[in-house]
């Protein structure tokens, strides 16, 4: 380095009057916030995670998976059902009826039981030689389905075949009753009518049970690199010690970093919701009689429900990363944190509990339930939503105090 000969200053300027610095304490968090945001906006890794991967991960995954299952199911239902038939000549009328229903006759094989057992065949139908005689005598005529119940993938084919045979049997029974002058309804003592009360929207919500989890994950990913960079990263790059020598209480610095993390999380969440809105259009949901629309009104309701949770998660991330000495260590810790929001999803999945008041007092679970209600097109009750928000905010406060305590420790700044 070289130093030019200009005078630095006539005399040291002693600190300005206190009035000059009034409000600094409140401003300090804002200064840190602005700097962290500015720096992060220049970081490709942070941007990629917060603005691209986080918001797109959920919608893309969801659309991809749903398209896959829906198209698979639709294709299954319309495809001809190939079945090996032994003794097709014993009941030509039955075989013709089955063919009309979509069955495709495969030629017989010598040892059909062995073929099914060795999984060469999925399914076979045997029509015994005595079929025609029993049919004509009016006795129950037997057919055999040869299948392997331990193979789950043949389940749908088996059901289709059973339904075909059942329908043929019922039609024949009705015709026999009619030819004898009896009402065909005699053979139907009980009929069951199913009246599903789920609205198309609610059925769609079932489909989107994963949405709250994806939203939470999006928020976590959005804040992740900021949390790491501003705490463990600052420590690793040895810029924390000089920062803490500034005349600013440490909790203001921490608050600025927390605000920046929460802001990026929230931005991620907003983008994620928009992505979900767009993704809804790409779903073949209508073909299944479902409706899923993330209307701006619902999104507008989801945001305030999720906002306290975003703050809590950001605080948690800051707390955890502030413990880490290096970026790598922080990454490991945050990986574990990302597993936490899975818990309520799994609990709700395993035990489909009816929503009760106490559940809204559990952060994560409460938001998950509320978002589900919104998606089902139900009105959320204000006391429950308020309880959920308050408990979450209170917990965020507690976690912040923990992070603050950690930040106040003397060891924090000393990189080692």
């Amino acid at each position: 380095m070289s130093v030019a000969p200009q005078p630095l200053d006539a005399a040291p300027r002693q600190p300005a009057a206190p009035g000059h610095r009034a409000g600094l304490q409140l401003r300090a968090a804002g200064i840190v916030f602005v700097k962290e945001c500015r720096e992060s906006l220049r970081d490709r890794r942070t941007l990629l995670n917060a603005l691209l991967i986080g918001p797109l991960l959920g919608p893309v995954l969801l659309v991809f998976l749903l398209r896959l299952t829906i198209t698979h199911q639709l294709a299954q239902a319309n495809r001809p059902l190939p079945v090996t038939i032994i003794g097709a000549g014993n009941a030509p009328n039955l075989v013709a009826a089955l063919q009309r229903a979509g069955l495709q006759v495969l030629p017989p094989v010598p040892d059909v039981e062995a073929a099914v057992r060795s999984q060469q065949l999925d399914l076979a139908l045997r029509i015994p030689a005595g079929f025609a005689a029993a049919w004509r005598a009016g006795r129950p005529a037997q057919v055999e389905i040869i299948f392997d119940s331990s193979r789950r993938d043949t389940g749908p084919a088996l059901q289709r075949l059973r339904a075909m045979l059942d329908r043929y049997s019922r039609v024949t029974a009705a015709m026999r009753l009619m030819t004898r002058g009896l009402a065909p309804t005699l053979s139907l003592p009980v009929v069951v009518a199913e009246r599903d009360q789920a609205t198309p929207q609610a059925r769609g919500a079932l489909l989107f049970a994963m949405l709250p989890y994806f939203l939470i994950l999006t928020a976590l990913i959005g804040g992740m690199w900021l949390a790491i960079d501003t705490t463990a990263g600052e420590r690793e790059r040895a810029s924390l010690e000089p920062l803490l020598i500034n005349p600013v209480p440490r909790d203001r610095i921490l608050a600025g970093k927390l605000l920046a993390t929460a802001t990026f999380s929230l931005a991620s969440l907003c983008l994620g919701l928009i992505a979900f809105m767009v993704a809804g259009a790409f779903l073949p949901a209508n073909q299944l009689g479902l409706s899923f629309s993330l209307s701006p009104r619902i999104v507008g309701a989801i945001l305030p429900v999720m906002a306290p949770l975003v703050l809590l998660l950001a605080t948690l991330q800051i707390l955890v990363t502030a413990f880490a000495h290096s970026v790598r260590e922080a990454q490991t810790y945050l990986g574990l944190v990302q597993l936490v929001p899975v818990i309520p999803s799994v609990v709700l999945g395993l035990m489909p509990l009816k929503a009760q008041l106490w559940m809204f007092a559990v952060p994560l679970l409460g938001q998950q339930l509320t978002v589900m209600q919104l998606l089902r097109g139900e009105a959320i009750s204000l006391p429950e939503a308020a309880l959920c928000a308050l408990v979450t905010l209170a917990l965020a406060g507690v976690v912040f105090l923990g992070a603050r305590r950690n930040y106040a420790s003397e060891r924090l700044a000393i990189t080692a």
Binding site: L8, P15, R42, N246
Partner: protein, 245 residues
Amino acid sequence: MISAQDLHKSFGVTRAVAGVSFEARDGEITGLLGANGAGKTTTLRMLYTLMQPDSGRILVDGLDARGEPLAVRRRLGVLPDARGLYRRLTARENIAYYAALQGLDARSAQARIELLLQTLAMQDIADRRTEGFSHGERLKTALARALVHDPGNVLLDEPTNGLDVMSTRALRDFLRRLRSEGRCVLFSTHVMQEVAALCDRVVIIARGRVVADGTPDALRERAGEQSLEEAFMKLIGGAALEELA
């Protein structure tokens, strides 16, 4: 003006600083000389209020560091051992961040930053991101941000570490300029020539204690040696060798 009075600091069973007292006066350069691990950095960290001494008192311009740490920090310009910069910010933005945290309003911050950029001859790198800066460029930026609030007291932890000869000379000139402006300059070093070339007063630390305190001439005289290095070795006794063992 900085006054350290009987400072003690332990980490677990390790007694890093065990009774350090000295004064660093305005308009003088004071050198804190000691071998590695003698307690220089810990002493400085207590002076710039990053750490609390277990016992003892620190006064900066008459303000008690324990009672008024924020007021004390405003009077200190510190170049700590850790001098990491924000890589994605330019040199100017790095300095401006500290100016804002020091509470400078935008206009006086800008004027002050211009002056420092000029004095440290870093106008050409001012608007470059600090990623990829040379050692000297990083040091200049760290110095500028440490002095952005025009502090009366300047603390530097081993400032010439890793600098080439030219940069070292320039830094010495800069420290002399700070002295001529009436500031209290205190820096730590383990390099003898540094002390001989710069200091008005030398405080020699060994094993957490002050073993000698005076002008370089007085120390040479006291030890009865011609070179400061010999005097240093004599004054700290076998301490340095024990540290190595």
